[in-house]
Structure formats: structure tokens, C-alpha cells
Chain length 203, copies 3
């Protein structure tokens, strides 16, 4: 139940981020909906395709579709008011990223893949909806330029695989990895931590 | 046989739309061919990937490949004359969209997916070749900005699922859905119907 | 063993080409890594998805991932020195293209696909990593505009299917196709051969 609520809140936060990018590009209602949908389910879809899970998850999740439709309608109507809930959105988004990373890690484990690939799949689940969103909107994905949440997902995955080396329950390791991702992301945004600059000249 | 002819005409119309966009971007012959090919088969390919049909359809359809190769060659040679057949092209394109929508719906039904997802797959089949075409040409997909044919596909799918609630033959419902899509699209283009504007300020 | 070394050298050359494009766009370290990774494994991934091989190859190749990580780190550090090894890189890249084309052809044969589709899959394996790289970097793929290596891959595939009509060993036909691709590409680059211009007006 708890898991279910996080999933819904994360889906809503992801969909809203899609609506904002799409409206910025002045897409029509259909375009806004597709971008919101892709942002919310794109990462999981790419993961399912890579692993070979068929059909991809969302084809059997009409409720997610419904939630995204409602979210898009409300977001379009109340777009001006969205700024007042920005903090809540950031929180849902961050919780969603933590959860989705571990969902991806789990799917990788279920497919008997090596740990490093499970972490990759977790990161793809959490981050590549945003990548597809940006590609469809004709932008270089923001995650490749300045956002750091991919790094946070990778670290969270590492924490999980470290913890399960110790005699602790799987669900505890799982939850601690999610919490690690959430805390690290909040700290990174608060203290404006980004990846070290790899360019010598000034940008 | 009838079905077969529509499929070929639709493929040709889709491929030509790809050629026109690609030549507008001044791609070389290989680029023009790939864009034409992707426009023609991209929607069905994405659908097959999402459902998990393997291999994707076109890998077993060398004839489609041949038709697209010939279409591209002719379209490059007679590009200046293409404007004289614009109305025929629009008609083939529209018939193709109607047919492909229902092909996608059928594949979804064959995979035991819920009606709303079958409609989604129908729309993807008919419309996402054009989306991939625009992405490869570095444009925001035209269907997200002003074209309305996705909406028409969704409505056509709805008509089908409404009709099969009644005691009528499946093939009749199927054909009526296709005809609905064709008529709605022609009307929409003729009367310049578009989705309601979702932006308050002027664009 | 020989095959293995070529594969590694090709992966390194592809990854470096990704690093160069990504650094040109001033992506951050994570972005540079993803672009390098996608350039190296994207073509094979797309091929595996289209055929329905699951999971896609790289999910079971942690060594490739490691090699790409090391390549990216070294390439970022020694980016200024890369120009001194440009000729070696071109050679590795060309050998990689030859090899990957035939790997793709083989996977197509193993999936019982018609020769023309095997050639298509070979070309996709060799060339579409670069296509995805360019899309993620918000560029029209260079291969659609001026590079000719797709054509070279197609010709190499044709050579293979011609040769196996004759009573010669499969491995010989395989190797000769690879050598054909390598020689043709070197000649094409040396003599600046490109596809015939399809536009009447000057560009």
C-alpha cells in the first residue's frame, strides 16, 4: 500500500515535469499528454525492452494511464498555480526517483543480471523517462548537462549491493537504498553539488 | 487482396512523406531512404517492440522493403512532380492511417491487452513512424504541435470498441472504424479543425 | 582471440568517437559516459531489440562496460592528445565497422531472416550507435548527411552473400566481407568518395 502510494505520487510528479517542458515548447494538448506519459513511463519501458519483459509494463497498467490523463488535465488547467507546489513536486519527484531506481534494480535481479547491470537498469528506470522527454522536445537531455540525479541513482544502487553483503533483511537494504537516494538528492540540490567540471577552459 | 492494396498504398504514401521531410533537410540518398523507411515502418516497429512480437514485422517483409526502395528512387527523381499528386498522396496517407490504426488495435487484442491499450497501440502504429521521422530530422514531431491525426485514430479506436458491444460482425465494426477515421481526418483537414488551444496568451 | 581483440579495439574506437561528440556539446561527465556507451553498444542493442534477442547483449557483457568506463576516463584526461592517434582511431573504427557488420549479418542468419534483412541488421549494428549518439546530442545523424559508411556496410554484406553461393568456406567468405568493408571505407575516405548528389540546385 505504501509502495503503491509512492508509485502514484512519483508518476504524478514525473508527468507534471513532462507537462511543464511540453508547455514550454507550446505543444498542443496531444503533444503535452504524450510528453507527460513518456516522462512517467519511458524509463520503465526502456528497461523492460532491454531486459525483454513483454509486454512492457504500462500496457497492463490502465490505471497509470488514467492517473496521467487526469494529472495532465489538472496541470494544464492549473499551470499557473503549479509554482506554489514546487516543493511538494520536488519531493514527490525525488521519492519517485528513489523508488524507481530500486524497482529497476529488482527487475534486473529477477532477470539474473550482474549487479552492475542491475544498477544500470535502476538508473535507466529512474532517469531515462526524462531523457526521452527531452529528445522528443528537441533538447539535449538535461541529465547529460547539469542534473546530477543519475549519479545519485548509481550511488543508491551501490549502497544496496553493499548492504546485502551483510546479514540484514533484503527489505531493509532496499529501503535504506531508497532513503540514501532521497537524502543525497536533496543535499545535492540544496548545496548545488554537481559533477566535477571536465573542461579546462571556461564554459 | 483489398487489404493488401491499401497496405501497399499506405506504405508508399508514408515513405513519400519521409522523402519530402528528408530532402527538405538536404540529407544524402542513404539518409533519405532511412527516413522514408522509418516513416513507413516505424510505428509498427514500435508497436511490435512494446507488445514483444519478435522479430518486429518488417524483418519478415522483404517486399515492403523493396516497395520502399522503389518509392524512394521514384520520389527522388520526380520530386518536382510530386506536388501534382498531392491530393492522391493525402488520400493514400489517410487511408493508410485508418488501416494501420486498426491493425494496431488488432495486434493489441491478439496480445490480450485491455481496450484502452489497444487504442494506444493503434495510434502508435499509425502515427509514430512520423514521430521517429521528425526526431531523426531534428524537429519536434509535427503531430505534437498541430496535426490532429492522433486524435482521429483514438476516436476511430473508440468507435470500434463501441460497435463491438452490439451484435454486429467484427469485420463490419473494423471497416466502420477505418471509414470513421478516414472521414474525420478529411473533415478535420478541410475545415481546419485542430485541438483546442491550451495556452492563455497568444502564441 | 583475434576476434576478441578486434571487438575490444572497435568498442574503444566507437566509445572515443562518442566522447569527442559529447565533449563538443560540453556535456558533463555522466553525459559523456552515456554518449560513449551508446555509441559503442547502441547499434547492437537496436539489432537485438528488432530481432527479439533478450536480454540485449550488453546486459551480459560487464567487461565491455568496464572497457568503456576506462576509455571514457582516459579520453577525458587525454582529450588534447587524441589528435595524435587519429589515424589509429580511424583504423580501429573501420575494422570495428567491418566486424560489427558481419556480427549483425550472422545474428540475422541465426534468426532465420532473409539475406536482405541480414544485411540491414549488419548495417544497423555497425552504424546506428552513431545515429543514436547524434540524436542524443541533438544533431541530424552525420551518417544521413555525408558519411558513406552505411553504403560500405551494405556492399560488404552483399559480398558475403555472393561469396557463399560459391563452394568456399563460410569463415573465408566472412573474413573477405570484413576486409572488403575495411578497404572500401579507407578508399572512400582517401579519395573523398560520397554518394551521388540527389539535389539539382546547389546546396
Amino acid at each position: 500500500m505504501f509502495y503503491f502510494i509512492i508509485d502514484i505520487l512519483g508518476t504524478i510528479a514525473f508527468a507534471i515535469s513532462g507537462v511543464l517542458v511540453a508547455m514550454d515548447k507550446r505543444l498542443d494538448a496531444f503533444g503535452v499528454f504524450i510528453i507527460a506519459f513518456v516522462t512517467a513511463v519511458g524509463g520503465g519501458t526502456l528497461r523492460d525492452l532491454l531486459i525483454g519483459i513483454k509486454p512492457v509494463g504500462w500496457l497492463n497498467a490502465p490505471m497509470h494511464l488514467l492517473i496521467i490523463v487526469i494529472t495532465v488535465l489538472l496541470a494544464i488547467i492549473f499551470v499557473k498555480q503549479l509554482k506554489y507546489v514546487r516543493k511538494s513536486l520536488f519531493l514527490f519527484d525525488t521519492i519517485g526517483i528513489g523508488l524507481y531506481t530500486m524497482v529497476g534494480v529488482e527487475k534486473g535481479l529477477a532477470a539474473d543480471l550482474p549487479p552492475v547491470m542491475c544498477i544500470a537498469l535502476g538508473t535507466i528506470t529512474a532517469c531515462f523517462g526524462g531523457v526521452i522527454r527531452d529528445i522528443l522536445c528537441n533538447e539535449i537531455p538535461v541529465i547529460f548537462r547539469k542534473e546530477i540525479y543519475a549519479t545519485v541513482c548509481i550511488l543508491g544502487g551501490l549502497v544496496y549491493f553493499l548492504l546485502i553483503q551483510f546479514p540484514i533483511q533484503n527489505t531493509i537494504a532496499y529501503s535504506m537504498a531508497i532513503v540514501t537516494i532521497i537524502i543525497m538528492r536533496i543535499l545535492a540540490v540544496r548545496f548545488k553539488i554537481s559533477l566535477p567540471n571536465i573542461y579546462r577552459e571556461k564554459t
